[in-house]
């Protein structure tokens, strides 16, 4: 059996070597094609790169989240403690929705969140505090999707994706920046890209024309 992962055509653009006609040629070409895909995939996701990008991502995502919640602190009652103003996530609404917390409970939740985010951004037990951060964000997002839109939702998904990034330490004991496979960073990049790709698709495939002027008035 031909080893498709290792065999390569020695002269893919040159004249064919004698004795390479028939089924063997097809099988060898297939192998080269597949191995090229595997190689590209491998390089795209699993090449090792310095982790400074992941560490900066960790710090800036934490900073962004703090900047997102601090302006909301004076309005927590309005945003998270009034059932008349909430728009629960449709999936959670189908199973009864999340329980509403009293205002003091919302304060406790948000202060715990900000503390965990600060620890995460500083790299203090970052892996451990990420779980409570995701749980609290999931509660706040599920409780009311109306005040988390667009980039707020994107940030939530980034909190999931960032778990795949090697953000734990910037430097090794010898002082050099650590290198690690970049697949998590690639996923974060692809997530960013998909936002703009989907935005374009939503606008160009039945975008403006789908809603008449009258329906945008109410």
């Amino acid at each position: 059996m031909i080893d498709r992962a290792t065999e390569k055509d020695p002269s893919p653009n040159g004249p064919r070597a004698p004795g390479t006609l028939g089924d063997a040629v097809v099988r060898r070409a297939d192998g080269a094609w597949w191995s090229r895909i595997v190689e590209r995939y491998d390089r795209f996701f699993f090449d090792t790169v310095p982790v400074d990008g992941a560490v900066y991502f960790r710090a800036f995502l934490a900073l962004w989240t703090v900047c997102y919640f601090v302006p909301r602190l004076p309005h927590l009652r309005e945003l998270y403690a009034e059932t008349a103003l909430r728009v629960p996530h449709p999936w959670l609404a189908a199973v009864g929705g999340l329980p509403a917390l009293p205002v003091w409970g919302v304060w406790v939740v948000v202060l715990v969140l900000l503390s965990c985010v600060a620890a995460f951004g500083a790299g203090f037990h970052a892996r451990k505090v990420q779980l409570p951060i995701i749980v609290i964000l999931a509660y706040l997002l599920g409780y009311d999707v109306a005040n988390v839109r667009g980039y707020g939702q994107l940030a939530f998904y980034q909190w999931l994706i960032i778990y795949c990034l090697p953000y734990d330490r910037l430097r090794a004991d010898d002082g050099n920046v650590i290198v690690a496979p970049r697949w998590g960073l690639r996923l974060a990049t692809l997530l960013f890209s998909s936002v703009y790709l989907f935005s374009v698709l939503a606008k160009t495939i039945g975008g403006e024309s789908r809603c008449s002027v009258s329906c945008s008035k109410r």
Binding site: D42, P71, R72, V87, N147
Partner: protein, 157 residues
């Protein structure tokens, strides 16, 4: 800035492949959900559709309180609602689906009751609340009124 070829250990790499596969499957699923005519709620809209349509109308909510004697007073929404999105005047009620849904009477009544309760904290005691959207065309300045309804708020929550 590639430094070297992958040296990811087997188990970690296998898990990474699963996560990558899940990521791509989710995105393919989102595309199919938006493009294939699926039945009911299985069919969905595009994700990240914030630029899908550009409204040529700007609208504001007008809430009028009616007291027991029939007196009418406009409720001060700018004092009732504190949080606005960024530096805009998009208050939280702009995103309330019930106020945009003709069948959302329960949500509209709850919202009216909330307004009445907050208004009473500001010294305005009303027995019913009338809600309507005031839509202004950004193209020609034309103004239209779109009534939502009048809701009795005698029993505050």
């Amino acid at each position: 800035m590639s430094m070297a070829s992958s040296s990811t250990p087997g188990p970690l790499r296998r898990h990474a492949n699963y996560v990558i596969l899940l990521f791509f499957c989710l995105h393919v699923g989102l595309v199919l959900r938006a493009t294939v005519p699926l039945p009911g709620k299985v069919h969905g809209r595009w994700p990240w559709r914030m630029f899908e349509k550009r409204s040529t109308w700007e609208r504001v909510l007008r809430a009028t309180g009616i007291d027991a004697n029939g007196g009418r007073v406009e409720l001060p929404l700018h004092r009732i609602f504190g949080y606005a999105r960024g530096t805009t005047r998009l208050f939280i009620y702009q995103q309330l689906e019930a106020l945009n849904d003709a069948n959302g009477a329960a949500g509209q009544a709850a919202f009216a009751a909330y307004l009445a309760r907050r208004a009473s904290e500001l010294g305005l005691h009303v027995s019913s609340v009338e809600l309507q959207w005031i839509a202004t065309s950004l193209d020609d300045g034309h103004v239209e009124e779109h009534p939502i309804g009048t809701f009795s708020v005698g029993a505050l929550p």
